[in-house]
């Protein structure tokens, strides 16, 4: 009974990611296919790498025949924002015991956002709910990339613009946190810092400097934020 309710809760929470991942995943599958790698390659990439922008980068690394050093450096750079995500789940994931490694592995932008916006309800197993949200998202991504490389050009409809559903997901979570979070300083700092660095440094280089400045500013106004947020920290 608890299991059924937990699965239902996790599925509902993961649903906003479904469409975005199916289509972004299939975009990856199509690109990989065009470079001469069939669905088996797409399947393994999406199981073991599992990163949106990282896998798009991978396609160009494969087609250019990049060295392993370049691959490592570029992958670390493009995913560098992830080093900040775990900070919000240090204790929570540890308590999940055997699921702990998988939760770390599967912490993509979208799963991170959904987990952040997730407050548990009664009658469910919270740890399992978090795990199933992560797992469902991963499965959508895998399914999308395999479907993309299999069907590729035969899609009956032009889906251009469907990727906006990911933007919309982040905007929805932004609105929810704006309402529930007692201090607006973190959201404003993140927004301003990202905008300024995007304009200064351009699309490919802005996110890491932006996040470093955000963290620094948040540390500097710790007292002011904690006054509003409260808690023992």
């Amino acid at each position: 009974m608890i299991m059924k309710k937990t699965l239902k809760f996790a599925f509902q929470k993961s649903l906003p990611v479904l469409f975005g991942y199916l289509f972004l995943g299939s975009a990856f599958g199509i690109m990989l296919q065009q470079e001469g790698y069939n669905f088996v390659w797409a399947l393994f990439c999406s199981i073991f790498i599992y990163a949106g922008s990282g896998q798009f980068l991978l396609v160009s690394l494969l087609s250019g025949g990049a060295t392993l050093y370049v691959t490592a450096l570029m992958t670390l750079l493009i995913n560098s924002r992830h080093i900040f995500y775990g900070l919000s789940f240090l204790d929570k994931f540890k308590k999940m015991r055997q699921m702990y490694p998988y939760m770390i592995f599967s912490l993509t932008d979208e799963t991170y956002s959904v987990l952040c916006s997730c407050s548990a309800i009664g009658g469910i197993d919270e740890n399992k709910a978090l795990f199933f949200i992560a797992l469902f998202d991963h499965l959508y991504w895998i399914a999308g990339s395999v479907l993309g490389s299999l069907m590729g050009q035969y899609l009956p409809f032009d889906f251009a613009g469907i990727e906006f559903s990911m933007t919309a997901l982040f905007v929805v979570i932004f609105v929810e946190q704006w309402k529930s979070f007692k201090s607006h300083i973190p959201a404003v700092v993140g927004l301003v810092s990202a905008t300024v660095f995007l304009l200064l440094l351009g699309a490919n280089n802005f996110i890491l400097p932006s996040l470093i400045v955000t963290v620094t500013v948040l540390m500097l106004c710790k007292n002011k934020v904690m006054e509003k947020v409260g808690g023992e920290t």
Binding site: L15, P16, F19, E35, G36, Y37, F44, C45, I49, Y50, Q55, L58, L62, G65, A66, L68, T75, N79, R81, H82, I83, F84, Y85, G86, L87, S88, L90, I104, D109, C116, A160, G161, I162, F164, S165, T167, A168, L169, F170, V171, V172, V175, E176, Q177, F181, P186, A187, L191, A194, L198, F206, I207, V215, L218, M219, K222, V225, M226, G231, T233
Partner: protein, 111 residues
């Protein structure tokens, strides 16, 4: 395939390990400590709204401001998502309407 499959597998393996490494980093950093430092607890608490805000901008990074329609379709659709979500508080509805609006705009007004 421009390269042989062994090289391709090596590239994929390196990408997988490096991706996992970035996600593992904070957990590895604080795995030994019994209690997590207060400042890190604080960051864990306040970073989500800041990171989500950053991700919204990240999604808009490829908008070209110097060339028409310079992100107007994105702006209108985001405004719709904010409005509908503040009003109805239904995640799927907000995302669905916003995405539909965007897909229609880029095919009609801003085609």
């Amino acid at each position: 395939m421009a390269i042989d499959y062994k090289t391709a597998i090596a590239i994929i393996a390196v990408a997988a390990v490096c991706t996992f490494a970035t996600r593992l980093f904070p957990f590895a950093l604080f795995s030994k400590s019994e209690t997590i430092p207060k400042s890190v607890q604080y960051l864990g608490k306040v970073l989500p709204p800041a990171v989500i805000a950053t991700l919204v901008i990240y999604c808009l990074k490829d908008v070209n401001l110097s060339q028409f329609p310079s992100g107007i379709a994105e702006l209108i659709s985001i405004a719709l998502v904010v409005g509908v979500h503040a009003w109805k508080k239904n995640t799927l509805l907000s995302i669905g309407l916003g995405t539909a609006c965007y897909m229609i705009l880029i095919r009609t007004v801003f085609a």
